[in-house]
Every structure is written in structure tokens, then in C-alpha cells.
Amino acid sequence: MKTTRSTAPAPTAQDEYTVDVFTVVNGAPVQWRVDTRTTLLEALRDSSGLTGTKRGCDQGACGACTVHVDGARVVSCLMLAAQVDGRQVTTVEGLIDEEGRLHPLQEAFVRHDAFQCGFCTPGQLMSAVCLLREGRAGSDAEIREYMSGNLCRCGAYDNIVAAVREAAGGGA
């Protein structure tokens, strides 16, 4: 994972339980004054109102909260908000382009019905975007292996694999 820090100042402790965090979320600078115990997941959802990122376990075991930090996928429930100070965060809300068009993976997910309740979907998408970037979509087996950190209790796995395969250029 890339850990290069920007020139932003270190998080400033206000009092025992409060910290100021300067970060960039989906390309826009953001400042959070949060409880030191606040996770990245909570800051995104509660402080920035970016509720697309979901909480399925809060224990790093389901992948629903997957976001990108400096381009790498992380489970945001296991990272403190203070840890992203000076770093770049991308959430599902950041996948659409400036004109509001869906990312090709989002389109592929819809076309292949790669979700049912939709609760795991933001996390699946964020993992899949990284997986493509990492060049891990070489075969169905590889996609399945590298998507297995994202639980889908509705069981949409076959369709998720089909969507990722298509987005990777392997066709439907």
C-alpha cells in the first residue's frame, strides 16, 4: 500500500477524545473534527454523509465497508479516521464520472444482476475496481479468489463474477 503522506499537518488533538482530520474524499478536500475512536467508516457515513459505504460487521470480516485509500482497497471499519489524514479516499459515490455517468463496472453489475438486496454492492464494486487495476481478473477462479473477502449473503456471486469478467474485457 502506498503510504506517502501529503504536506497536510498531522492530526491535531483538540482534547482527549477529539481530533481534526484533513483528507481528500472523492477528490474534494474534507475536514473532520471527530471522536478519536471514530473509524473511517463512521467518519464517511456520519461526518460526510457518504452512506453508500455500508457496515456489515464492523469487524473486518464482510467487506461491505470497502473503500480505497490512496488507491488500495481497505475495510474502512478497521481503519481509524485519523489514519487517513493527508491521504486520498475514494468511496462508491466517487465511481461515477463528472457527468454523472456510471462506471463501466456499475453498468455491468446492473446488466448482470450482480446484487439482490444491494447491501454488499458498494463494497463489491470498490473491491472489483481495485481487482481490475491489480490485474487480478485473469480467470473466473482468480476473480472468485480475489473477491472472496466480500460476502454476499444474497448469493449473487456468479453474477458478480460475470460482471467483473465483462468489465475486464473478457466479454459476458
Partner: protein, 735 residues
């Protein structure tokens, strides 16, 4: 029912994309956990650390001095609630915090409310509770068996005579463990009062049952309670009941005069919102040499909690699948100091089918007969063997034949361990499946507007099954519109009442309500047509809506624009209300059939390390009329994943000393992940069902039924070892 058969076929059946898809892939679909209201505070549930006994002391004074903490509710200060009303799927398990009694480990004992969830969580950790603990009753053998109201004993013929007449007999005991529904969305709610009005954003599968419960227990008018669930992160049964957390949030919100948000944690999801309870089942089968069944006996014991009974239904399908003259089913439950049971995807059938379809495979081997052949010889497709009346439809034989063909079953060498690939043992197994028919009441309203668009409204929920989409398609066909001209809104108890999504009953129930609503809408529109109208004097079923006009059914060129009909009376919209009108079964002369299926599975087992992979699944389903091929396939795919989980992984463990859940996290409770699942071949067969105008059957659950037994039977074929206890784990497979 409506006299005329609806014209379906332009949009119904087509595999259009999910209409709510764009919301779901952009993260903009609002789930209860996403709701924030002004002045909202956060509640965290504190749970018991003993499995039975009473609370003797809760000291909350120190907590109230912690930053942000606003209140701590215990049985000493939580409002007294009225008794729970009887709603579908049972009453609320127990009203929370009414006394200090503990009936299971992990039960709700206090509620901490603070300005932030961090503050509430921290305070909840520091609470000090003293218990007079008792030894929890955890051994089923020490409990008192009692009957289950929904699963009465059944008997036909004479099973002992059938046993005596049999040439070949088998009898064995089968077990299924506790499984936890674990929808990915954590359950919870945001509750807000305005005087006697309550609005709650929740994760229930049934908005109306929750409305009724809240109104009755808080003593407020049902008309003032609004339950909103536009989206929920799955349910699989966990959202069917009126769980205590909802009452806790509503009670706290009323006391504090502020909106309260309460989200359960994943470990709490293992304790507070139900599970598929453990079963132990005894099956005896007898058959003549040619494979004709002479008797079936199915006995099941299912575990319950002290105050809340399991649904059961373990044995209720047994007498209907096979044409056997002598059948007896007996089902009992035992109340233990265990957490609340509930329905989990394919309740009862998932467990009962495991026993019966494994036993059928055992019988086939005793007979030296092909397991598929044994099914085909005995499956009852024309008449329901219990009543002797014809089924409204039954495609189970077709499921078996089509599945066998696609799978290549005829190439199977029946001898165990006979099929290999390198060092791997291959096993081919199959199972037949049925799921009961269930048709609860639903209502819907269909509205047309002067601009030619239309809306459907109902309090039903879409838990991921695709209700929004299939109802949009159905309404598009009924109104002669494009789906983009139809707006379907659900998940709000202020809309026409609907059944819960559960029991595989909603699609049929709601689609027939929509058909009825359109018929009424046409009747209303006709009243607007004056004496000079070409439609004057026609009845509601003599006309259809097409492209924004009301037309003669037999000559659509005779048409009046709906906009003109409305404008003539100064109207801007017109609605028709409809409801399910179930046929009188006796008058209809048929038995309402559920969905059927057949599952064919290939497993590969590495005997050195006991590793099992499911390599191939062919899943064939008779689901009646399919409303959307793409989404229907997804239902079967998802249920297959659930079935693989049931077969190989899912096992909620209870510590035998304390009654505590021993593996209540996603790290410890295993579910199937992408790498565990092969490409599943999904096929639908059968005809539109004759029982209702929509011709639909429920398909949310049937896909799970039979998967575990087909896997277990495949394991036997691969290894010669008979699997009777789920889940099938490595230690059972090491050679």
C-alpha cells in the same frame, strides 16, 4: 377472482434490469442504517452474560456521568408495554425490559442512549450488572417435548403395515444445526415520535405486522404509526418477527422526546433476530423390490427458546411429495434457554428435505436402484397424495428429467468411489424438492395520471427479491405502458396494506392484488365515460388500458385517451384499489401447489486432506409463471449459495455450559464465499399455475431446498460414507 385472464407477455417474463439497480450501484438506495434525523441520539443494546436467572442489581449511576450519555434504560425504568398482539409469524417474542428475568445468554437487559454511537458503545461496555444466575436448561433430552401449532402431526394409511409389507427398509437419524440468517445489512431502526404519532425506519420484512405491534404495545392508534422500509439489506426470515430491539428504540425515543437510532452489532445479529433452529429427525422408509414406497415415517424435534416457539414445518411437506399410501409425521419442540428461533430461507423444508432426500438415496442404494429412478417412480405429480385432489400444477417430474439430461446423469457409475479424476474422488448426487404454497393477503393501489404515466403503491417490501421490478413489469403489461412509465413504490405502511416478504408468498399475493386493482381502475375510468362515449355501457373486463387510453378489449381501435376521461370531470388522476382474491380451494377443485425443484450436484473430494469442492450444480425449478427471467435466476443462484452454506459451513455453536453463542462473528461463523461456489446452471420448467390469475409461484426459497441433500448424496457417491449430520466438514471426509 377477476373473471378475465390478464394479458401478460410483453414485459412479464422478460429479463429486464432491476429497476432499483442504479440506486443500488451508486450507494444512493436508502437503508434504515442510512437514516439521520435532526436531534437524533444513538442507542446500544446491552445483553446478558448469563444464560438463565434474574438480574439482582444494575448500577447505572456512573454511566450517566460519562460524556454524551443521555439515558440508561433497564427493567426498572423502561416503560411498561401492553401485551403483544398476535400478528403473522407470531407475537413479539417477549416485551423487553419488563422484568429482570433472563431466559437466554445474550438477551437484552439494558439500553444505553448517548449523543454518538461511540459514546453509547463505550458506556454500554462499562455497565455493571449483578445476576442471580441459574443453570441454563440446554440439553434437549432434559426438556419437555410439546407440539408445534403450525406443524400438527399427520397420518394416513397404516405405517406399521407398510413397514411389514416392505421388502427393503431403512431407518436413520439426521441432524441439522442452528444456522443464523445473517442478512448482510445489520438490523436496526430509527424511531421518532410526534405526540402519539410514531414513525420508524426499520429492517422489517413486513411493514404492516410491525405497525400493528407497535400501535398495540404502545397503546397508540394504528393509523398514526408509520413504518418505512424502502430498502433493506436482506432478511432471509430475520426480518419477519417483531423483535425486542424495535420496541426498545421506540420506547426510548418516546421517553426522551428525540429520534433514536439503534443498530445491532454483528454478534447481536446471532442472538436477537432469530435463527434456523437445530433439528434431530428420525426417518423410516419401506419399499417393495421394484422401488415402490410402502411407508414413510418422519419424526422431528426442533429446538425453541423459553418464551418463543420455533415455526417448525420440518415434516409438513413430507406427506405431499411422494405418492405413498402410508405416511406418518410427528413434530415436537423443546423449550430451552436458547435465543429466539425464527424462519430462515426455506424454513422447515431446508431441514426436512435434508433428512428425507438423504434417506431416499439410502433406500436407492439398499434397493440397488438408481436414485433418480426411485424418485421418478414415487413422485406424486397429478394428485396431492394427502387429499387425493389434483394439484394446481406440479412439475417435479419434469424438473428431475430436465435436470438429469442437462447434468448427464445417465453417465453416472453408481458404485461409490468409482468416478475419479487424478487423485480426486468425484461424486454425483441429486435430490428432489418441494416448497409449500402460501398465499397471504395483500392490497395494492394503481393510479393513472393525465400525462399517461402510472404508479403502483403497496406497503410490501423488496428484500432483494425484485418486487419493485416484477410489479413494474406486471403493471406495464396490464396498463399497456413501457416499464419506464410505471413508478412502483413499496415499503411504507401508509400505502395499501400488504403481506410481508416471506414464505415465498409475496410475488403471488401482490401481483394478484395489482391485477385486481387494474380491473377496478378500469371500472372507475368507465364511470367517467359519458353516454356519448364509444365505451359507454361496457364492463370493467370489456376494456383494457393501452398507451394512455382506455380501449375496447375486443377492438382496441375503439379508444378514449385517459387524459380526456379525467379532464372531463376535472380530475388529474384516478386510482383503483385491489386485493388478492383467493379462489375458494374447494370450489376450484384443486390443491394449491407450491414450487418444485430438482438439484444435481458434482463434488470433488481430495481424500488426503478431506477437501470438498462443489464443482457443478444444475438446479431446475418449477416456479409457475416467471415474472422476470433474469431476477428469477438470481433467486435460484442465491438460494443455491445458501444451500451450499447449509451443507458445508453454517453451524452456530452454543457453549454447552453457559448457552453462549461460541462463534457469533463473520470471522467464526462461516458462510459460502465466491470461491466456494461454482457456476450454477439454472433452468425453469413448468406452466403458469392454475390457482391464481397471475400464474406465479414463490421462488425465493425453493432454490435452497434439496441442495444440501444433493451435496450429501454426492459425497456418499464419492466416498461411500453416508452423511447424516450437517454441516459436512473436513473431519467427516478424511480417509
Amino acid at each position: 377472482m377477476t373473471a378475465t385472464k390478464p394479458d401478460l407477455g410483453t414485459w412479464v417474463g422478460k429479463g429486464i434490469d432491476r429497476v432499483d439497480g442504479p440506486h443500488k450501484v451508486t450507494g444512493t438506495a436508502p437503508y434504515a442504517s442510512d437514516v439521520t434525523l435532526p436531534g437524533m441520539v444513538h442507542a446500544v443494546v446491552v445483553t446478558s452474560t448469563v444464560g438463565a436467572g434474574t438480574i439482582t442489581k444494575i448500577d447505572t449511576s456512573a454511566l450517566l456521568t460519562l460524556p454524551g450519555v443521555r439515558a440508561v434504560f433497564t427493567h426498572e425504568n423502561f416503560p411498561r408495554l401492553n401485551p403483544s398482539p398476535d400478528v403473522l409469524f407470531g407475537e413479539a417474542p417477549t416485551a423487553p425490559l419488563q422484568d429482570g428475568r433472563i431466559t437466554f445468554h445474550g438477551q437484552e437487559v439494558a439500553l444505553v442512549v448517548a449523543d454518538t454511537s461511540q459514546e453509547a458503545t463505550e458506556a454500554a461496555r462499562l455497565i455493571e450488572i449483578t445476576y442471580a444466575a441459574e443453570a441454563p436448561l440446554l440439553d434437549p433430552a432434559a426438556g419437555q417435548p410439546e407440539p408445534l401449532p403450525l406443524s400438527p402431526d399427520t397420518s394416513r394409511g397404516d405405517t406399521e403395515a407398510g413397514w411389514a409389507a416392505a421388502d427393503v427398509r431403512i431407518g436413520a437419524t439426521y441432524r441439522t444445526p442452528e444456522n443464523t440468517n445473517n442478512p448482510l445489512g445489520l438490523m436496526g431502526c430509527v424511531a421518532a415520535w410526534d405526540g402519539d404519532h410514531l414513525e420508524i425506519h426499520d429492517t422489517t420484512q413486513g411493514t404492516i405486522a410491525l405497525r400493528k405491534t407497535l400501535a398495540a404495545m404502545f397503546g397508540v392508534p394504528e393509523s398514526g404509526v408509520r413504518v418505512r422500509v424502502p430498502y433493506l439489506g436482506g432478511g432471509f426470515g430475520a426480518g419477519l418477527n417483531q423483535w425486542p430491539y424495535k420496541l426498545l428504540a421506540a420506547g426510548a425515543a418516546r421517553e426522551l422526546g428525540r429520534p433514536v437510532k439503534l443498530m445491532l452489532t454483528r454478534p447481536q445479529m446471532f442472538r436477537l433476530v432469530g435463527h434456523r433452529p437445530d433439528t434431530e429427525q428420525q426417518v423410516r422408509l419401506g419399499a417393495t423390490r421394484d422401488g415402490t414406497l410402502t411407508m414413510i415415517e418422519h419424526r422431528a424435534t426442533v429446538l425453541s427458546s423459553i418464551d418463543f416457539l420455533a415455526v417448525g414445518l420440518i415434516t409438513s411437506g413430507t406427506g405431499h411429495l411422494y405418492a405413498c399410501p402410508n405416511v406418518a409425521t410427528v413434530e415436537r419442540t423443546v423449550r430451552l434457554n436458547r435465543r429466539y428461533p425464527t424462519s430462515m430461507r426455506a424454513p422447515g423444508e431446508a431441514e426436512g428435505n435434508w433428512a428425507i432426500e438423504t434417506a431416499m438415496d439410502e433406500l436407492a442404494y439398499e434397493l440397488g436402484m438408481d436414485p433418480l429412478e426411485l424418485r421418478l417412480r414415487n413422485l406424486a405429480t397429478d394428485l396431492d397424495p394427502a387429499s387425493g385432489k389434483p394439484w394446481s400444477s406440479n412439475g417435479v417430474i419434469e424438473c428431475c428429467r430436465v435436470g438429469a439430461e442437462l447434468f448427464g446423469w445417465s453417465r453416472r457409475d453408481p458404485r461409490p468411489s468409482s468416478m475419479r479424476e487424478g487423485d480426486l474422488l468425484l461424486g454425483w448426487g441429486m435430490a428432489a424438492a418441494g416448497f409449500f404454497a402460501y398465499l397471504p393477503m395483500s392490497q395494492a393501489r394503481v393510479t393513472v395520471y393525465a400525462d399517461g404515466t402510472a404508479a403502483v403503491r403497496s406497503a410490501a417490501t423488496d428484500i432483494g427479491t425484485g418486487t419493485y421490478t416484477v410489479i413494474t413489469q406486471l403493471a406495464a403489461d396490464l396498463l399497456g405502458l413501457h416499464p419506464q412509465q410505471v413508478d412502483c413504490r413499496l415499503g411504507d405502511s401508509d400505502m395499501p396494506a400488504s403481506a410481508q416478504s416471506g414464505g415465498s408468498g409475496l410475488a403471488s399475493s401482490l401481483s394478484n392484488a395489482v391485477i385486481d386493482a387494474v380491473s377496478h381502475l378500469q371500472g372507475e375510468l368507465l364511470t367517467l365515460a359519458g353516454a356519448d362515449s364509444p365505451l359507454h355501457g361496457l364492463g370493467p373486463d370489456d376494456v383494457v388500458c393501452r398507451d394512455g387510453a382506455l380501449c375496447r378489449r375486443d377492438d382496441p381501435s375503439v379508444r378514449v385517451p385517459i387524459a380526456d376521461l379525467l379532464a372531463g370531470q376535472g380530475l388529474v388522476e384516478m386510482s383503483g384499489d385491489g386485493r388478492l382474491r383467493p379462489p375458494d380451494a374447494a370450489a376450484a377443485g384443486m390443491v394449491h401447489a407450491g414450487a418444485y425443484g430438482a438439484r444435481f450436484v458434482e463434488v470433488a473430494i481430495d481424500p488426503m486432506i478431506g477437501r470438498l469442492r462443489v464443482r457443478r450444480v444444475v438446479s431446475v425449478t418449477d416456479g409457475g409463471r416467471i415474472l422476470n427471467r433474469k431476477l428469477a435466476r438470481s433467486q435460484i443462484l442465491g438460494a443455491t449459495v445458501g444451500g451450499i452454506g447449509q451443507a458445508l459451513f453454517e453451524d452456530t455453536l452454543t457453549d454447552p455450559g453457559t448457552g453462549r453463542v461460541a462463534n457469533g462473528t463473520f470471522g467464526d461463523y462461516l458462510v459460502a464465499v465466491s470461491a466456494d461456489v461454482p457456476d450454477v446452471e439454472v433452468v425453469f420448467v413448468g406452466e403458469p399455475d392454475r390457482y391464481t390469475p397471475s400464474g406465479t409461484k414463490g421462488i425465493g426459497e425453493i432454490g435452497l431446498v434439496g441442495v444440501a441433500a444433493a451435496i450429501g448424496n454426492a459425497v456418499h457417491h464419492a466416498t461411500g460414507r453416508r452423511m447424516r449430520d450437517l454441516p459436512i466438514t473436513v473431519d467427516q471426509l478424511m480417509m
